[in-house]
Amino acid sequence: MMASSYSAKDEDGHITVSGPGGGTLRNKKPENTAFKQQRLPAWQPILTAGTVLPAFFIIGLIFIPIGIGLYVTSNNIKEFEIDYTGDDTSSPCYNCAKNFSWNNTKSCTCTIPFQLDQPYESNVFMYYGLSNFYQNHRRYVKSRDDSQLNGNIDSLKVGASSPMASRKKKKPSKECEPYASIDNKPIAPCGAIANSMFNDTLKLFYNDPNGTSVPIPLTSTGIAWWTDKHVKFRNPVGTNSNLTAVFQGTVKPVNWHRPVYELDTDPENNGFINEDFIVWMRTAALPTFRKLYRIIQKKNNMAPTLPRGNYTLVVDYNYPVRSFEGRKRMILSTISWMGGKNPFLGIAYITVGSVCFFLGVVLLVIHHKYGNRNNSANISN
């Protein structure tokens, strides 16, 4: 029964009431706005067969083509991967891996031949991949000093002994411990991330069919994010522009063979803005990751960048991973508009699209079998 309207006249009629004082009371009648009377126009999805079923089919129709497109794109990407960890006796790097010692001044070199079955067109990207390497461990992730890396000269100063000075942060951040300083000299760059920087050297040679081994030119710049290279990482600017002088009074990270100002000869790629270093400092989200190492630029339009044939990978084996059952890989890959090779998205889209389609059919059947019966039933009072 509708009872809301029976006294509408009473409620909407404007009656002036005389109060006890004889004067007219201020009218306390609430305002008649859609907001206050809760009459805001609204849309709410009503899940009827007429809306849900078409939606399912449409989602299916959209998702499956996207999925196929993604899948095909991903499949067209050429990717080649070599594991050179060397924990297997048959592996060329077995000896290097086995005999690894931090004290080795001379690096151990191993040579891995491999064969590309297909020619690699366009630019080819060379990655190193690490597994079981917890770059996302909390203590690891925070073990860096962003202001030092941003060229804050104070973070390179000698750790002051007085508590007053230490409060002014005139030394590497405490987060870098235990790689903050040695003998009261700050480490540059400090922290566990920098200390553990990947330092294998990978070289690639093309074995010509005529027997000569041609080195393949590897570009080492342009591998880091523009923002990292130009904003986040900056070399400290001291009184002189000589990096060596700027880093005077600092020590190199424990594991490093060379100090930070000798990472490269190119001044634009040296010190904190060395791109290999920047790439390493962008910690990975997952324990298995790959990082861009070099780019093999496309030479001309006619020849493939990497023709099919035999290649040799020469590794200066400096980076120990066997202790924690890590793996090291070298990956050669082309890319597409959707990035590197990863069939997951394509498969996921196809799956979800198919499931939607299937659900649509199932729900249609259910709707025909049960839905009508229920919907036609009136609301019993």
């Binding site: 409620e11 126009p41 609204a42 709410q44 990975a284 059952e325 590197g340 889209y349 659900l359």
Partner: protein, 1199 residues
């Protein structure tokens, strides 16, 4: 110099003696002994300096706030800290600020009202002069002067007054809600002081009295003055909160001031009401704590294993500070407590309060709950109970003033077998305005009350034609009553009646030319058709519950002795002379018709008395009156003797006007499966009558049981009988034990065949509420559709409510308007006060107030339902979004070595609840409507899910946890798989931690935002605005500028730019959003298809046009008679104690302010709420017709 020394405080410490001592004019002792109590009151909690510490202290007593403080402590321990301190500090400060701001405004308001009261002016006798002084400066022992219509400043001993016999009249509406005037009388010895300032100043006495307490009706004390001792009782005390009326001035001595006054002592902390959702939430929060501990333990164990197996080898690159995996896992446990703290939502309580506040405003703003006639909008006085309004199962209603308007209207009458009033047209339903406009014109009568309305001209004609019976009829009405008249100005009469019925009858007589003008203890002066007549009042044979009639014996100006009697028809009929039998039949027919219309009837009769017999009778009456033993019995006998062989005059029919829309409301509510119990102080007949006329009891009901037993056994037997007839199979298991539910017995609802009603009397209720019977009573009562308890005391009202609260897992609501309803309003989960009437007591203690009973259905079916729905939706959504947020961390732990690394950016963690999701969820919980209000009215069954607690329970909480578990899996593993070993379209990094964090948090925000189901413009704005804000904030936080300012706080520089331009990032976001929504839609759709709820059906069908309510004709039952009060005030009237000075000489009269436009404004509420000890159904033995007095035979040819 009037000073006193009070030992009140000292006495209170000892608590041995009840009496405390006050010395008057006795402060020659050194001042340091004078513990002077001033009259200042303080209800505020803080002052400027104590606010911060006190308020913070209070806030940290809340478990959630304390918990976050604890988290903060954890966060500053470097080994544990997994999140920056600001992630906790920012929300905590925000929450504390919001709460503190609310507390501060509340307290400022209290300060304001304190100041207003404290700065009122009153005249105080200081240094032998009257001075105007602020209330707060009044001290105990001061003598103050009050004038008419002033508030009483403190608890006073009345010293003297302007009125004869040292009387003062006070209104106690603020104290007990009763609006009728009360009388206080000073001691003659103090009264003699008069207004002589000198004498008063010299007044030297000593008062010993009880220590301050909160009993309004009791006072004991002794005044020692001039060597004499005078006992003081309540009659000599004016309590703070009363208003002086009809009294020019009075002097009083301050006994208790400020916080010691009885009014303030009564302002005890009202119990804090909490909703069942609140309680459930507390349980859930505890459960969540447990769950949090469980998750953290799992992760800590994981950490132990990881540290032992992997971490120990990984030390090459990640050295460990300590080598003990067990210690590391211990630290990890606490680190995860910090990270996963979002499962215990700090902003939950604040959001809940905001939502409730918002929904309370809707109630205040609702035009459909605004009553234009006295300009009263509905008011949500408590803002914390809204969702409970959607779960009401039991409504306890007062009758007078709540269901009825407490306005009696002289509607019809039958005189000498002829019926007047709109006889032949059926009574129109009360909510429709009367259609006929031809009201009777009373202009012939200058003294007529212009507000009186009558619709039958023939009665006026009969009066004008000097029809003797008609004249006798109205003369009776003008004489036989205990009403008092007040005539401020010539011709302006105001009546003060104890029961509104009487007032209506006297007003009717007044308009028909028999104007009751004034009375003295032994005379009544009336104006009969313009002619002044003085009747000598010889005796009042007053009303009581057994007699159910009252009579007066008067001597007319012509010297004729007559007895006029009015009373219940059955009672009068037994005492009629046999010659009236024909008239009786006709009148009975009329009475039946009146009763069928739901009117309250009274039969009128008279007889002329023989002088001699009367003299002898009055002699015996006097003897009986002064008898020491069995005075009442003897008087009753005498009354019985003289009230016989009466001659029937006719009968009156009074409409006890129901409030508008009451029957419809009750019908609506009962359709919503809400049980309505009427608890009234009225008599059984009246209550039953109203029960029928407002649709509570119905003719179609299988049976209406009446419980009126006078002993425990009787009541038990009656209850059992009732149950047997309702449910034959279940009746005999008297050993039936209610099922145990966590130690508390819960009586489950039992199904019965058919509809039943139960009427229980006050005295039976007293037995039924005893411990041994209460379950039996409750079982029986709950099987009935309607329950009416009559002659219930305020305490019993509360007991009944408590009983239902105790054994029924149901939400109760009590609605009432008077002071006698306060107890039940406070006892029930939700109390509703009817506002806009004179007494404010019920409203003041209520949680919601509005002007009309019919608004209850809108409050419950619309506002309550929406509030409940919104709150539940909010909670489900809130838990969902926070669980989803948190569980992602849990999954990530398995991939980061259980190191308590967060998935998201710390800024996102800080702002997620505060900025990115706060407004959308608020919008949802303020605007969501599953169906509109028209539908809620159309289908009251939509209310039922709330009663059954279907929308938010442990089960639905569990479901929502499962849902968020699924969502978090999607939200973690889809980005995981999509980013695994992949790179940007220029070959650079995208699987780095920062990009992954950005991707996951964006996915989360999208997935959470699109799961809204109700989109008004505001909602859309909120959702889109929040997303836009998210991007704006993110881009800002990740910008070069922010980084250069503080490199360590904004390490995510460039992440947004570098990853949000990647197509596969957006494809991932799209995929996760769809995957989060898909199962929800599928599930909902399947539910709608397979087992649709009433809501689903309602939504799928367009709203029908509004239909008018079908009007139910009221029943044809015989009604009760029209006395709604118990013992009358006859002896007061005759004693003269109550009478004022002659009306016309009064200089200051009672101002009739605030009178409504009704025909008669009742001054008092029926006084008798206590069940009388005497049984009510005693048959008065038939009186034999013996001595025939002079009477007139009614002939058959009566017109």
């Amino acid at each position: 110099m009037t000073q006193i020394l009070s030992f009140n405080k000292l006495q209170n410490f000892s608590k041995v003696t009840l009496l405390s001592v006050l010395f008057l004019n006795f402060c020659h002792i050194s001042f340091s002994f004078c513990l002077l109590q001033t009259n200042a009151i303080k209800t505020s909690k803080y002052n400027f300096f104590t606010f911060l510490p006190l308020n913070l202290f209070e806030q940290f007593q809340r478990i959630a706030n304390a918990y976050f403080l604890f988290l903060l402590v954890l966060q500053v321990i470097p080994q544990i800290s997994s999140l920056s301190w600001f992630t906790t500090v920012v929300p905590l400060i925000l929450v504390l600020t919001v709460t503190a701001a609310k507390d501060a405004t509340d307290d400022i308001n209290r300060h304001r009202s304190d100041n207003r009261v404290n700065n009122r002016k009153v005249q105080v006798l200081i240094d032998r002069k009257l001075r105007s002084e602020k209330w707060m400066n009044v001290q105990v022992g001061d003598i103050i002067k009050l004038e008419n219509n002033q508030f009483v400043t403190a608890d006073l001993l009345l010293l003297s007054s302007s009125e004869p016999l040292n009387l003062v009249y006070i209104e106690t509406a603020e104290l007990d809600g009763e609006t009728n005037l009360k009388v206080r009388q000073a001691l003659p010895v103090t009264g003699d002081l008069g207004d002589d300032i000198e004498k008063l100043a010299d007044f030297n006495g000593e008062v010993r009295c009880e220590p301050p307490n909160n009993r309004l009706d009791r006072f004991t004390g002794v005044l020692s003055f001039a060597g004499q001792k005078y006992s003081l009782d309540n009659e000599k005390i004016l309590l703070r909160g009363c208003t002086l009326r009809n009294t020019e001035w009075c002097f009083g001595l301050v006994l208790f001031g400020g916080p010691e006054t009885k009014l303030m002592q009564n302002c005890g902390k009202s119990t804090f009401k909490r909703t069942s959702i609140d309680r459930l939430m507390n349980i859930l929060v505890l459960f969540i704590f447990g769950f949090l501990a469980f998750m953290c333990s799992v992760l800590a164990i994981g950490n132990y294993i990881w540290e032992r197996n992997e971490g120990s080898q990984f030390t090459v690159f990640l050295p460990r500070l300590e080598d003990d995996p067990a210690f590391s896992s211990f630290l990890t446990f606490w680190s995860y407590v910090i990270i996963l703290n979002t499962v215990v939502p700090i902003s939950l309580y604040v959001s809940v309060e905001i939502i409730r506040l918002g929904n309370s405003f809707y109630i205040d703003w609702d035009r459909k709950m605004y009553y234009a006639r006295n300009d009263t909008p509905a008011e949500a006085r408590t803002t914390t109970l809204n969702e409970e309004l959607g779960q009401i199962k039991y409504v306890f209603s007062d009758k007078t003033g709540t269901l009825t308007q407490n306005i009696m209207i002289f509607n019809k009458c039958t005189i000498n077998g002829k019926c007047y009033g709109k006889m032949c047209t059926p009574l129109t339903s009360p909510h429709q305005p009367k259609q006929y406009t031809d009201t009777v014109d009373f202009s012939f009568n200058p003294l007529a009350d212009s507000r009186f309305v009558f619709h039958d001209h023939s009665l006026v004609e009969a009066v004008k034609l000097e029809n003797t019976e008609v004249h006798a009829f109205f003369r009776l009405l003008a004489l036989c009553h205990t009403v008092m008249a007040e005539e401020k100005k010539e011709g302006e009469l105001f009546y003060q009646a104890q029961s509104p019925d009487e007032g209506a009858l006297v007003t009717a007589a007044r308009n028909f030319g028999f104007v009751f003008r004034s009375r003295t203890p032994d005379s009544i002066s009336i104006v009969e058709m313009g002619k002044q007549c003085n009747y000598e009042l010889l005796a009042i044979l007053d009303f009581n519950n057994v007699r159910k009639r009252m009579s007066v014996i008067v001597r007319s100006p012509e010297g004729k002795l007559s007895l006029y009697c009015k009373g219940a028809d059955t009672i009068i009929y037994e005492r009629l002379h046999q010659s009236c039998s024909k008239l009786m039949d006709v009148t009975t027919e009329h009475l039946n018709e009146f009763a069928g219309d739901g009117l309250r009837t009274l039969a009128l009769a008279y007889k002329d008395l023989d002088e001699e017999y009367f003299n002898q009778w009055i002699q015996r009456h006097h003897e009986a009156n002064t008898a020491l033993e069995d005075r009442e019995g003897k008087l009753d006998q005498l009354y019985e003797e003289i009230e016989k062989d009466l001659l029937l005059l006719g009968a009156t029919a009074i409409e006890d006007k129901l409030q508008d829309g009451v029957p419809q409301t009750i019908e609506q509510l009962s359709k919503a499966d809400i049980k309505i119990w009427v608890l009234t102080g009225d008599k059984q007949e009246t209550a039953e009558n109203i029960g029928y006329s407002c649709n509570l009891l119905r003719e179609e009901m299988n049976d209406v049981f009446i419980i009126s037993g006078n002993s425990l056994e009787d009541v038990q037997q009656e209850l059992r009988n009732a149950r047997t007839s309702m449910k034959p199979d279940a009746a005999e298991n008297s050993e039936f034990l209610p099922e145990m539910d966590k130690g508390v017995k819960v009586v489950t609802d039992e199904v019965v065949n058919g509809e039943y009603g139960l009427v229980i009397n006050g005295h039976s209720l007293a037995y039924a509420l005893e411990h041994s019977l209460e379950l039996e009573f409750l079982r029986t009562a709950c099987m009935c559709k309607a329950v009416i308890c009559c002659r219930v005391t305020p305490l019993q009202k509360a007991q009944v409510v408590e009983l239902v609260k105790k054994y029924k897992k149901a939400v109760t609501l009590a609605i009432g308007d008077g002071a006698n309803d306060v107890s039940m309003i406070k006892a029930a989960h939700i109390g509703v006060g009817i506002s806009g009437q004179e007494g404010m007591q019920a409203v003041l203690s209520s949680d919601y107030s509005f002007a009309q009973f019919r608004f209850l259905q809108r409050l419950l079916l619309v506002h309550g339902r929406w509030s409940y729905l919104r709150m539940c939706k909010f909670l489900r959504y809130f838990f969902y979004k926070n669980f989803t947020f948190t569980f992602v961390h849990f999954w990530f732990a398995f991939f980061c070595g259980f190191s308590a690394q967060t998935v998201y950016d710390e800024w996102f963690i800080t702002l997620y609840n505060l900025m990115y999701t706060a407004l959308p969820v608020l919008g949802m919980s303020l605007f969501d409507q599953d169906v509109n209000d028209v539908w809620s009215f159309q289908h009251p069954q939509l209310y039922v899910p709330g009663q059954l607690n279907l929308y938010f329970s442990k089960k639905s909480f569990f479901k929502c946890a499962l849902h968020s578990c699924y969502s978090s899996l999607v939200l973690f593993f889809i980005p995981y798989a999509a980013m695994y070993d992949t790179v940007r379209d220029d070959g650079k990094d995208i699987a780095d931690y920062q990009s992954f964090a950005l991707l996951t948090q964006t996915c989360l925000l999208f997935a959470v935002s699109i799961q809204m189901s109700y989109w008004t413009a505001v909602n859309t704005f909120f959702v889109l605005g929040s997303l836009a804000m998210y991007f704006a904030v993110t881009f800002t936080m990740y910008s070069n500028g922010m980084f250069t300012i503080l490199p360590s706080a904004f390490p995510f520089i460039g992440t947004a730019r570098n990853s949000l331009n990647q197509p596969n990032v957006w494809l991932t976001i799209f995929l996760t959003s769809i995957l989060c929504v898909l199962p929800v839609i599928t599930n909902r759709f399947l539910m709608i298809q397979l087992c649709p709820t009433i809501n689903d059906k309602a939504k799928a069908t367009p709203a029908p046009p509004t239909r008018r309510a079908r009007i139910r004709r009221t029943s044809s039952r015989r009604s009760g008679y029209a006395f709604s009060h118990a013992q009358g005030y006859g002896d007061l009237v005759t004693s003269g104690r109550f009478l004022r000075r002659p009306a016309l000489t009064r200089s200051s009269g009672f101002t009739h302010a605030g009178r409504t436009t009704t025909s008669f404004s009742p001054m008092g509420r029926s006084a008798g709420y206590s069940p009388t000890g005497r049984p009510q159904n005693n048959k008065v033995p038939d009186v034999e017709v013996t001595s025939l007095q002079m009477y007139r035979t009614i002939t058959d040819s009566a017109p």
